[in-house]
């Protein structure tokens, strides 16, 4: 910017202006200022209530993994049963936590819940599994953690979940559900649930071992899952219908409706030119206009993939229609080039995606990538920015592994009205020749085009 003036300004002008400023400041408006501080505090309180944060971590044993999720679009219901449950001491918190998940609410209303009450204790820490909800595809573990330094605001407690043979489940696991209103007193207990969604082909185990590590030790309990409860509770519909969105072609194979979710299997046409990342606002709608949204799924949309929807099981609708508003997609063959020594982004598929920081984490480096400046539609999606278990190259052409301990961590924050997503990737410590080049799999971009397909 060039500011033109008809004459040169001198230090005297600056000094005059400063003196003027000082005399204005001498009349500091005491009362309005105190008022502004008070209003700011109030505003903070009410804004914090609207601020949701959620950190999802994925654990996977198999190669099949999907990295897309949405934080929006759940239907909130507040039926009488949930209200009653809320009044059971300690359980109200869980009811609040699952209020954002129609399937879980609906399941709770139909008493589709298995009380557990199993605890493990060590060194002043205590973990209790209050109850579980399970069907053939999804398992929800409602638990509390208490102990030194743990309270309702604790953002992440490490966890593990294995079958009785000690093998990790092939599943998408969500944790750190956090939807508290800031005006309530902070409880000295962490309430959370582990949301385990099995990959389509995986079978729900009879027993699982669930552990958390709030301090130095693991606290573990073994849980048995009552298969009889849900044995007969499913509906399978074969479809094989083809549709196009954003010039990309897809086939709906079949749908499986169970108490905690509806799973729909799709197949992408191998001839699709762009990389499809995610359907926009995909939902099932029944004859009464009730909407069952989708926030999870398995596999990238390159070949066979599935989407999970909020369950319509207990509503027992006569008709179901699949509706979607468009498609998130990206061009193939893009790269992300960074200098991890200088903390610089040299090439990025999109302006708002940069290397934020490089943290020395002992035996490896943790890269924090920041995506900002995206519109509302783009910023609520979790992207597989780098390929899982992928590799990258340094300037000398040496190839290295992206380390993958327990999946990608994406942190989505929406405080201060700005939505920012942080992506964490680990790379080994090595004598890199800068810069480093990563192949980009998914990045923000979309087309809007409404589609509807009858399911039943």
């Amino acid at each position: 910017m060039d500011i033109r003036s008809n004459r040169e300004l001198g230090s005297q002008d600056l000094l005059n202006d400063k003196r003027m400023l000082e005399s204005e400041l001498a009349l500091m408006p005491e009362e309005p200022l105190d008022d502004a501080i008070r209003k700011g505090l109030e505003q903070g309180r009410s804004r914090a209530v609207r601020t949701k944060r959620k950190r999802i971590s994925w654990q996977t044993a198999g190669a099949m993994l999907c990295i897309f999720m949405l934080l929006t679009g759940f239907i909130r219901v507040s039926p009488a049963f949930a209200k009653m449950m809320k009044e059971i001491p300690g359980f109200g918190k869980f009811v609040e936590l699952i209020e954002y998940d129609h399937s879980l609410q609906s399941a709770l209303n139909h008493e589709f819940m298995q009380p557990v009450g199993a605890s493990a204790e060590s060194n002043g820490y205590k973990m209790t599994v209050e109850s579980i909800m399970a069907d053939q595809q999804r398992l929800v573990i409602l638990y509390t953690v208490e102990g030194p330094g743990i309270d309702e605001n604790t953002s992440f407690v490490d966890f593990k979940v294995k079958n009785s043979n000690g093998k990790e489940l092939e599943a998408l696991i969500g944790t750190s559900h956090y939807y508290r209103s800031e005006d309530e007193a902070i409880e000295s207990k962490l309430y959370d649930y582990l949301d385990i969604m099995l990959n389509g082909t995986a079978k729900m185990p009879e027993n699982i071992i669930f552990g958390v590590k709030p301090g130095d030790d693991w606290l573990e309990v073994e849980l048995s899952i009552d298969h009889e409860r849900f044995a007969e509770m499913s509906e399978h519909i074969v479809l094989d219908k083809t549709f196009e969105v954003g010039d990309q072609s897809f086939t709906i194979k079949d749908a499986l409706i169970t108490p905690l979710q509806v799973m729909i299997n799709f197949e992408s046409d191998p001839g699709n030119e762009l990389r499809s990342n995610l359907f926009i606002d995909i939902a099932l709608v029944d004859e009464k206009g009730r909407k069952y949204s989708s926030n999870m799924g398995f596999n990238t949309m390159d070949a066979e993939f599935s989407r999970q929807f909020q369950s319509s099981y207990f509503e027992r609708p006569k008709e179901l229609t699949l509706m979607l508003e468009g498609l998130h997609m990206s061009e193939k063959g893009k790269i992300f080039v960074i200098d991890t020594d200088k903390n610089e982004t040299l090439r990025t598929p999109l302006e708002g995606i940069i290397l934020d920081s490089v943290k020395d984490a002992g035996d490896h480096y943790e890269l924090k990538l920041k995506m900002s400046g995206l519109d509302d539609l783009s910023s609520t999606v979790g992207y597989t920015f780098f390929e899982h278990n992928g590799r990258f190259k340094d300037a000398a052409g040496n190839s290295y592994d992206i380390l993958d301990r327990s999946g990608t961590q994406i942190e989505m924050t929406s405080s201060d009205g700005e939505r920012v997503s942080n992506y964490y990737y680990n790379i080994p410590k090595a004598d890199y020749v800068q810069p480093l080049t990563f192949e980009v799999i998914q990045y923000p971009g979309y087309v809007k085009e409404p589609i509807s397909i009858r399911i039943k």
């Binding site: 500011i3 309005p32 501080i37 505090l41 902070i186």
Partner: protein, 197 residues
């Protein structure tokens, strides 16, 4: 308020004690207001910036690890709020510049005119330049203090100051003779201890 008191209030505030937070913010209120006012140059905008800052402080209070860095931390938030505010006002500013050009053309300049001129020139600078000019020449902070608040190297702050002065077309050679940019470093007076270390 004594330093130890400030620290105690800040520590309680971080843990969620709202009364302590209010007390702690109040202890810095004139600092907050004077920076906001120096940048905004009007009471309404300055108060708005303070309010927004306090709001963000409330939301983020649990992320502050060291109670003794409360002031620096809060002023950093304020600086960001002030600079954000400017983005919103950019459109108004553009139209203002158009008018100003015409009035400047009639070449009637009294002392008040030159003050208004200077204030408006500073206002029209790009965010970081405006901020460094305000902190340096209007709030008398040192380069090191400014660098710490903006989380930039000293060199960057120096470059910004130089560029800002060039843009303002201000010749600083007459600024009370001193060092750095041919002017006297005026740190101290009323501002010491702004940046905790």
């Amino acid at each position: 308020m004594e330093a130890w008191e400030k620290e105690a209030y800040a520590a309680a505030a971080i843990k969620g004690d709202e009364a302590a937070l209010f007390k702690r913010i109040e202890a810095d209120k004139s600092k907050l207001y004077s920076i906001a006012y120096s940048y905004m140059r009007n009471e309404t905008d300055a108060l708005e910036a303070v309010q927004e800052t306090v709001c963000r402080v409330w939301i983020k209070r649990k992320t502050l690890r060291e109670p003794k860095f409360f002031t620096t931390w809060m002023i950093r938030i304020l600086i960001r709020v002030c600079m954000d505010e400017r983005k919103k006002k950019k459109r108004e500013l553009t139209s203002f510049l158009g008018i100003r050009k015409e009035t400047a053309a009639d070449e009637q300049e009294t002392a008040t005119d030159s003050r208004v001129d200077m204030a408006e020139h500073v206002k029209a600078l790009p965010n970081p330049y405006r901020m460094v000019i305000v902190l340096k020449y209007y709030r008398d902070m040192t380069i090191t203090d400014i660098a710490e608040l903006l989380e930039k190297p000293d060199g960057t702050v120096r470059t910004w100051l130089n560029k800002a002065l060039r843009m303002l077309r201000v010749d600083m050679s007459q600024w009370e003779g001193g060092n750095e940019y041919g002017h006297k470093e005026q740190s101290g007076a009323g501002q010491s201890g702004l940046v905790e270390r």
